[in-house]
């Protein structure tokens, strides 16, 4: 079998699964099995793709056998393959968690087909090598996320969804404008081809204009400062499983797109674009963590922390040194797993404690010590306590910052790490440590949470493993960063060395 088709599998599998589970919409157990087994299959395929890409190098699939600059290509380089694996891990964990938490009412309105469609959109965005195709995958994942966000139709969801939808559509309009300008300038849509033709242009001013448009469009998607307001308005409203997959994946698609275009295409004027990125990163880190400090609802605190973590990832891109990019990729790997896990833990806290409000929670440590441990692992990892995954991610980034003499960024990164710890300790003190505000909650907590514990435990184990066995993960991040810093390899893989 030709292994090229492997590149398309992470898109085909969830699309097929989505269609299949749509046909059995009224059969709840079939939908659940399709969800769990299908995402497990997706995970296997994406791990295979990652290993294959690591062994052989960048994989390219010319869709419909149309040759490269004209047809659409799917490209799996190390960054893309790593992101696909992370998406599949989050998808699998969410599907497992949904088995016990998503009610039949939501399943009847197409929860599982939407989940698969979302994964297809995310994986498509990670793998495509065509800028307009990237836009299409963005829209696929957006429309799936719109529907997932308002599933259930509660008041808070509607209010959050209006902001989420409006700002994301606005960002899509900007993205499309940027694509239009790019096509008008270089007459191609293939990203590798764009990179070649942009570099040979005489007038680089227009390129910088296009770069700024892409920057704004993707910064809205990634929830970077000052364009993040849709995120805290909406992420705490849907089902916990939905929140978890949104928190893990959606903003990271924006970050991935920034990484892709600002390492492949717009590298001519790094003094201008990457300087802006640096300040965006600094303010994103700071505003996110300060926003979290003012919140007393678990999911809102976690939502604001997504923003501050996005700042770290953009910092890796902004410094644009080999070590910084390694740190950025490492950070993305660590963050997706930890963040999705924290939302899943928050869901279990709600199930056992009866509320998301810190004031109403309490005594969880006494009653559920296992959950307390499972909360502490991702929480401390998020704050960057050794030997968990977050420590290495932050360490690499800060070391890169010191080497690049970006003292403001280093100072803010350290301060934000401290404030993150403060925030996590706040949740710990209020929800786990202090005595329960009422002696007995009126409603008995649901039992049979074993599967939920296993899901959270699995993700927590991954966090610990990334921390304990950081070397192989570091090597993968190093390969990804090397490919990002040397776009000639990507361009040659896509265009087959025909164009100089």
């Amino acid at each position: 079998m030709d292994l090229e088709v492997l590149v398309a599998l992470p898109i085909i599998i969830p699309l097929l699964l989505g269609a299949l589970s749509l046909t059995v919409l009224s059969n709840h157990s079939a939908q659940r099995w399709l969800g769990a087994i299908g995402t497990a299959l997706l995970l296997l395929c994406s791990v295979w793709l990652l290993l294959h890409t690591r062994e052989v190098g960048i994989q390219v699939l010319e869709v419909g056998s149309w040759p490269a600059p004209f047809g659409i290509v799917l490209v799996s380089d190390m960054l893309g393959a790593i992101m696909v694996v992370l998406a599949s891990i989050t998808g699998f964990a969410t599907a497992l968690y949904s088995l016990k938490t998503v009610r039949k009412r939501f399943e009847r309105f197409g929860y599982y087909p939407l989940l698969h469609l979302l994964l297809a959109g995310v994986n498509g965005a990670f793998l495509t090598g065509d800028i307009f195709n990237l836009y299409v995958w963005f829209e696929v994942l957006l429309v799936a996320s719109f529907a997932l966000l308002i599933l259930g139709g509660e008041r808070a969801q509607m209010e959050g969804a209006i902001k989420y939808v409006t700002l994301n559509l606005l960002s899509s309009a900007l993205f499309l404008t940027a694509i239009g300008l790019t096509y008008g300038l270089v007459g191609t849509l293939n990203m590798a081809d764009i990179a070649v033709k942009m570099a040979s242009l005489e007038d680089q001013k227009m390129v910088t204009v296009i770069a700024s448009l892409f920057l704004i469009a993707f910064a809205i998607k990634a929830a970077a400062f000052p364009l993040f307001f849709w995120l805290p308005a909406s992420y705490h409203t849907p089902q916990v499983a939905v929140s978890a997959i949104f928190a893990g994946l959606l903003t990271k698609v924006g970050v991935y797109a920034l990484y892709r275009v600002f390492t492949l295409i717009f590298t001519a004027d790094t003094g201008f674009t990457h300087e802006i990125l640096l300040w965006i990163a600094i303010f994103t880190m700071l505003t996110g963590v300060l926003g979290a400090a003012a919140q007393f609802e678990v999911r809102r605190i976690l939502s604001f922390h997504i923003i501050s973590q996005i700042g770290y990832m953009i910092l890796g891109l902004a410094l644009f040194t080999p070590l910084a990019l390694i740190g950025g990729v490492f950070y993305i790997m660590h963050h997706i797993i930890v963040k999705a896990n924290l939302f899943l833990v928050a869901g279990l806290m709600y199930r056992l404690g009866g509320s998301f409000e810190l004031k109403k929670l309490g005594g969880l440590y006494r009653n559920h010590p296992g959950l307390a441990v499972l909360f502490l692992i991702p929480a401390l990892s998020l704050a960057g306590v050794p030997p968990l995954s977050g420590f290495f991610a932050k360490f690499i980034l800060i070391k890169a910052g010191v080497e690049a003499s970006a003292w403001w960024a280093v100072g803010v990164a350290l301060l934000v790490g401290l404030l993150t710890l403060f925030s996590m300790i706040k949740i710990w003190n209020e929800a786990f440590w202090k005595a329960s505000p009422e002696p007995n909650p009126a409603v008995p907590a649901p039992t049979r949470n074993a599967l939920l514990y296993w899901t959270i435990g699995l993700l927590a184990a991954m966090t610990v493993c990334i921390g304990l066995f950081a070397q192989p993960i570091y090597q993968m991040a190093e390969m990804a960063a090397a490919q990002l810093l040397n776009p000639a390899g990507y361009i040659e893989a896509v265009l087959g060395g025909t164009t100089p």
């Binding site: 299409v136 008041r155 209010e159 409006t166 559509l169 309009a173």
Partner: protein, 112 residues
């Protein structure tokens, strides 16, 4: 023709931005629609402006670039679907929240 297209783009974008900044969901939806029209028109003009030129090579002396036309077709379909979704969302939220303010709370007006 270029001046005309440029003017139209400018007017559409201006109206779109103004309407998106309004506090009512209905005008926001209209604004989003206008913005997406502006973007589609802009995308179309990126294949350069021609008159009497089919998008087929050899059918006439001059031919237009077919690719932006294909892109616009995709973008129109997507923006149509998104607009339909936003309209339903705005209606539903107006019913659910008892007002049509984008923040969900209207301090000036009595609820519907």
């Amino acid at each position: 023709m270029e001046v005309l297209v440029a003017l139209m783009l400018g007017v559409l974008t201006t109206c779109g931005v103004y309407l998106v900044l309004r506090p009512r969901t209905f005008s926001v939806v209209l604004g989003l629609t206008m913005l997406s029209h502006a973007v589609n028109l802009f995308l179309f003009s990126m294949g350069r402006l021609h008159s009497n030129a089919p998008a087929v090579i050899g059918a006439a002396q001059q031919h237009a670039d077919p690719l932006p036309q294909a892109l616009v077709l995709t973008a129109i379909v997507i923006s149509f679907a998104m607009t339909a979704f936003v309209v339903v969302l705005a209606l539903r939220s107006a019913l659910e929240l008892r007002n049509d303010h984008v923040d969900g709370v209207d301090k000036e007006e009595e609820p519907i």
